[in-house]
Amino acid sequence: MRRLRTRGRIRLAAALAAVICAAAAALTGCGSLDGTVPSCDDPLKLAIIAQSVSGASYVPCIGELPEGWSTSGFDPASGGTSFTLDSDRSPGRPVTVRLSAGCATGGASPSPPRAPGVLSYTRLTSISPRFAGTLYDVFPGGCVSYQFDFTLGEHIALMEQFQSAVGLYPVQQLRLVLKQKLGVEISP
């Protein structure tokens, strides 16, 4: 009798777990856990970003996320990697970060470089009522673009915050780490 009761409880617990998991997956979007963008402190997970654009000398990574920011949609693939940065002060208008082999920077204005050997540019498509445009970090073998669209007024703090959130990890350093930890070379 006790065995039957236990079995019943196990079944009930399993059903509840399934329902909770399903509801959680559906409601919170935990179904897209690949949304987690690798941190700059976890070079082994950055390797796949480097593989997406072989020859790029930097890869984007998450340094320290300011309060109110989160990442999602991490999508490394052959040909490039993209992800989004969401701020609770700019709901529904995330910053889209994309690593690709090259960027068309024609018409963009030079900005202060963000890392050694990197040329940064900004192209604004709108200033008022929204501050929107694209920021480019161009380096040998690749380019990272940041597409933003903020409310005027909020934009100064938000621009500063997303730029501080996304770091550029040198692939040269990544090669050394991979060689040392796994004994592998990224590029053939």
Partner: protein, 569 residues
């Protein structure tokens, strides 16, 4: 209300010779620890698949340690380099073609095709298991991928396109899952399923080989993907929709009927011998077309002691979990649609269901009703399958297949009168449950019967019996006969309670085919009475309806999550 005196007990029907006698060795008690006649079996391949699951977990554990990951990666790369030595232009072209079989479009077509087929075939349990398996495997693959963050093969030119982390190889896992899902929910067990498995194995083999050739995955990425998408999915389907309980068949039979061959057939013979002392010589399905709530069986037995050398025939009903679940859904639907027409609490276990029918058979015999003599029930698989055994009405014919004269009408109405007096309702009176043998009416299928039913339920029994009799006679004759046992007010109440939902579907379709407005005619004959409403609203109905709506919303959320995780959009 009733003014007509109750008639005498009368003859309840032909008596049955006691049949059961202990065998020479006595009935055998199963000692503690000995398996039941049909134990739940986990076959060898399922155990192997579970072991493979443990291998996958061990691999993932190892890959979270850089030192071990390095060793595994080196081994993987050695294999990939060996495969890469075979590269040539034409072979690369061919391999890219094979790799296309793992594209999201193939997965979408197979996945949505399977879902559509399961909906069309109304295999909702299979569909639920399919979706849950997909969701679970998808979530697990995603969690592992994000947790390990494994790179693609390094130090070798990758010739194919890829997306996401390498471990586990998601396209392989998802392709394996849609193939296994289609096989285990659509292909009948046996030859067809085996052939489908081989075809799926060939497809997966080609896809895996091509992805290794193109250096898109490491070998261990594919191993864990196959364990997730094939081995664990197979285990889920075998556990949740075992073929012996939920068989897949396209022969047009009812889904409720179980296969009584093979291990189950042997177990039935053994259980009847050991538990009821019946030496079975043959068991075969019987009257499947008129049964949806169990698997009806004709059981031939050899009489061992009292009538040595003779044979007798018994009737059996095999109940399993699927019948219990059907009963629950049926009662739930009725509660939501009509409120609580009567006490329709579902049974909690198969054992309770069988115990109840056995009890009702005994009680109705004690009340002098012409129902089959009960011979008890045997346990086939504890809490899962039971076989109830009763008298087989040899040479009896369904009421609709025989001429009905005044004597038969009289006998049938007397049976209803006796049920009223005994405080019993049959609740499923229809032509296939009313038999005739030697001008005596016999009742079968008492599984739905109730003790101390509502007056409404008893009135419905009377209406259904009168409608059944009128099909083979006329409403006028049946009404006149009914007044011998029931007051005119009782008959009026019966037809005031009579609605489409209260008439069993078989009787309803026969009335429709007959063409006469039998219910209308009975209402004209009986005194006028306002219809008895059947829509009852109470807290129970509201609670169940709200729960059902919330469950449906959750199911939709589950489906949305499934589509998202599985990449079917």
């Amino acid at each position: 209300m009733t003014t007509v005196p109750t008639p005498g007990a009368g003859d309840p029907g032909p008596e049955v010779t006691p049949l059961i006698a202990a065998p020479l060795g006595g009935r055998r008690r199963r000692p503690s620890g000995e398996p039941p006649p049909l134990p739940r079996r986990v076959d060898h391949s399922t155990r192997w698949y579970l072991l493979l699951g443990a291998v996958a977990v061990a691999l993932w554990g190892g890959m979270s340690v850089p030192l071990v990951l390095g060793a595994i990666t080196q081994a993987d790369l050695a294999v990939l380099h060996a495969v890469a030595a075979l590269r040539s232009a034409w072979l690369t072209h061919v391999m890219r073609g094979f790799d296309a079989m793992s594209s999201p479009w193939v997965v979408r077509v197979v996945g949505w095709g399977t879902i559509a087929a399961l909906v069309a075939l109304r295999r909702f349990r299979h569909l639920a298991v399919y979706l849950i398996a997909f969701l679970a495997v998808g979530l697990l693959a995603t969690i592992v991928a994000a947790g390990l963050g494994r790179m693609r093969p390094a130090g070798i030119q990758i010739l194919g396109t890829w997306q996401g982390y390498a471990q586990p190889a998601r396209p392989v896992a998802v392709l394996a899952l849609v193939l296994v899902g289609a096989i285990y929910t659509l292909a009948p067990a046996g030859g067809w399923r085996n052939r489908a498995k081989w075809a799926a194995a060939v497809i997966l083999g080609l896809v895996c080989a091509s992805r290794l050739y193109l250096a898109v995955d490491h070998p261990t990425d594919q191993v864990t993907a196959l364990i997730l998408g094939w081995a664990l999915a197979v285990v889920v389907f075998r556990m949740a929709v075992p073929n012996d309980v939920f068989p897949i068949s396209y022969r047009g039979g009812r889904k409720a009927h179980l296969d009584i061959g093979g291990r189950r057939g042997e177990a039935i013979v053994r259980a009847l011998d050991q538990q009821l002392g019946l030496h079975v010589t043959a068991v075969e399905p019987f009257g499947l077309e008129s049964s949806a709530g169990s698997t009806p069986l004709r059981i031939d037995v050899h009489l061992r002691i009292q009538n040595d050398g003779q044979h007798a025939t018994l009737f059996g009903k095999l109940y399993a979990l699927n019948h219990l679940r059907s009963d629950r859904w049926y009662k739930l639907a009725r509660t939501v649609l009509y409120g609580r027409l009567e006490d329709e609490k579902p049974f909690s276990t198969v054992r309770r269901l069988v115990e109840y029918e056995d009890h009702m058979l005994r009680l109705m015999r004690d009340a002098g009703l012409p129902t089959p003599r009960p011979y008890g029930f045997a346990e086939i698989t504890p809490e899962r399958e039971y076989l109830i055994v009763m008298e087989f009405f040899q040479d009896a014919r369904e009421l609709r297949n025989v001429p009905v004269d005044a004597r038969v009408i009289d006998d049938a109405l007397r049976v209803v009168r006796r049920m009223w007096d005994a405080g019993i309702a049959h609740r499923d009176l229809k032509p296939s449950n009313i038999l005739l043998r030697n001008d005596s009416v016999l009742l079968i299928d008492v599984a739905f019967a109730a003790i101390r039913p509502t007056p409404w339920r008893q009135a419905v029994d009377l209406a259904n019996m009168m409608l059944t009799l009128a099909l083979a006679s006329t409403p006028e004759v049946v009404y006149a006969q009914a007044l011998r046992f029931f007051a005119a007010g009782d008959v009026a109440e019966a037809f005031a309670a009579c609605k489409s939902i209260t008439v069993p579907s078989q009787l309803r379709s026969l009335i429709r085919a007959d063409g006469r407005d039998l219910i209308g005619r009975f209402r004209e004959l009986a005194p006028a009475r306002r219809p008895v409403p059947i829509q009852l609203w109470d807290l129970q109905r509201i609670r169940i309806t709200v729960t059902l709506v919330v469950s449906l919303v959750l199911a939709v959320a589950l489906f949305a999550a499934f589509v998202r995780v599985a990449g079917l959009l």
